[in-house]
């Protein structure tokens, strides 16, 4: 697909190219005196799935947060490249789809309103069909009009996926991907992973988990030890 660029207006097919690569070098993070993890090195290319495992408190969530550009690491560097150009932490967030237990969406809005709000922030206008498609993809079809406060925890998790996938990001970061999900939900996650792998131009997924079943989904694995 050709991307036309006319001045500052870019009409881009949202699933077009975006070859992404992630590189971590000597990454370490400390909270005060407590070292969460140290000396993490990895290189991940498009089309791959990286799994981060480790005991509780070993810093999986922290690592994912750093990768998303939400937290600067105490030491080391994270380089996320999209189409060869390295992105700084703030710009990186636009290219990231993030799902985590501590991510919350607005309870006082409906599922549809949440998606429309976040879509608007990304410069997307969700038509009615697009909205229905987004909800159907995560198995929330017909529940878009309910307030998120009325959702079950599994439904909230599904909505988080819808949020993460709004802009079809090249980099998907999933912290405990199947938390609160039933069997259908787990199948949905597997579909998402497959779609990300098959993404034109290449998509990359990094999972943080301890579930053996989810660990199977990865091509490469990093194990974090509890820091001193």
């Amino acid at each position: 697909m050709v991307n036309s660029t006319e001045g500052s207006e870019r009409r881009v097919q949202s699933e077009a190219a975006g070859a992404v690569a992630v590189e971590m070098a000597g990454l370490a993070h400390r909270f005060g005196k407590r070292t969460v993890f140290a000396d993490v090195n990895a290189q991940v290319c498009a089309g791959q799935v990286l799994v981060v495992t480790g005991p509780n408190g070993s810093g999986k969530s922290t690592l994912l947060r750093i990768l998303a550009g939400l937290l600067p690491p105490t030491e080391g560097t994270v380089t996320v490249r999209v189409n060869g150009a390295a992105l700084d932490a703030v710009t990186r967030r636009q290219y990231v789809g993030y799902v985590a237990p501590d991510l919350t969406l607005y309870r006082e809005l409906t599922g549809a309103e949440n998606l429309q709000f976040f879509a608007r922030l990304r410069g997307l206008t969700l038509s009615r069909d697009a909205l229905i498609a987004a909800l159907t993809e995560v198995g929330l079809r017909g529940r878009g009009r309910d307030l998120v406060s009325a959702y079950s925890s599994g439904m909230r998790q599904r909505l988080k996926y819808a949020f993460a996938l709004l802009a079809r990001p090249p980099l998907l970061l999933l912290d405990e991907p199947t938390a609160n999900l039933d069997v259908d939900g787990m199948a949905m996650v597997e579909r998402v992973l497959a779609a990300q792998r098959a993404r034109p131009g290449g998509g990359l997924t990094i999972l943080g988990t301890n579930e053996p079943r989810e660990v199977e989904w990865g091509d490469t694995q990093i194990r974090l030890e509890t820091g001193r």
């Binding site: 370490a28 140290a38 000396d39 990865g218 194990r223």
Partner: protein, 246 residues
């Protein structure tokens, strides 16, 4: 499936090499200058009581002698804030906990000087106009300054368990509160809505300052400023030792 193991955490590096003396102020190292400050302060105290002719602040007579202490301390209480603001900018730009410590120390000393200024000012008012507190603009200004310092310390106390967050929030607060501080120093005492008992700008008018008077006042400024630097260095050294112990 290839597995990439992380290496075990690297051995803990020794703390960043901190000099045993705090960040050196040019020329102010060692003990010699502290002796000099001590002597200077003795001179100031003696001069304050011995300077010939009375300091004629609105006919204040001998009670005006407190001015030699009150004015430097009051000005210093505002200067402390400026120092804290500079270090706050440094904290935000470099994400440096040392700059944050310096900022906090400057604010703590600001509380000290603010309290001294309030007390000396109140004493002067009590002797001069027979009432220790008048809600006059400069008095209001110094009290709100004290409130500002106190709020800063309250904010720091609320986030005390996360040093990095505390550094950022304190620095931002210092910079945001710079606006009210500036207004307090320059605008509030001159608001037409507030009447003033405080002698306006008496120091600046040359007819009020004889040579002997200047001979005590200017050294007093110097002495108190150096005292501030000394206290600052002491507090910073304590902080460094605490850091090293942890």
């Amino acid at each position: 499936m290839a597995t990439t193991q992380t290496r075990p955490p690297a051995p803990k590096r020794p703390a960043d090499a901190e000099p045993s003396e705090p960040a050196p102020t040019p020329g102010l190292q060692g003990a010699w200058w502290k002796w000099a400050v001590g002597l200077l302060m003795c001179y100031v105290i003696y001069g304050a009581f011995a300077v010939g002719g009375t300091v004629n602040f609105a006919g204040s007579g001998n009670s005006g002698r407190i001015v030699f202490f009150h004015v430097p301390v009051a000005i210093l209480s505002y200067v402390c804030y400026a120092v804290a603001a500079c270090y706050a900018i440094g904290t935000l730009r470099r994400r440096d906990l040392r700059a944050d410590a310096k900022s906090a120390i400057a604010m703590e000393l600001g509380v000290l000087f603010c309290v001294l200024a309030t007390i000396t000012g109140s004493l002067f008012a009590g002797v001069m106009w027979n009432s220790f507190w008048n809600w006059d603009p400069r008095e209001i200004s110094i009290v709100i300054m004290l409130l500002l310092y106190a709020s800063y310390l309250v904010l720091r106390g609320a986030v005390s368990e996360q040093p990095e967050t505390r550094a950022r929030l304190s620095a931002v607060y210092v910079l945001v509160a710079l606006i009210p501080a500036t207004f307090l120093i320059w605008v509030v005492p001159r608001l037409p809505w507030l009447q003033s008992l405080h002698p306006p700008d008496t120091l600046v008018r040359p007819q009020n300052t004889s040579a002997s008077y200047k001979a005590v006042l200017y050294p007093s400024f110097l002495a108190f400023t150096l005292l501030f630097v000394w206290l600052f260095q002491l507090r910073y050294r304590v902080w460094q030792l605490v850091q090293r112990r942890n």
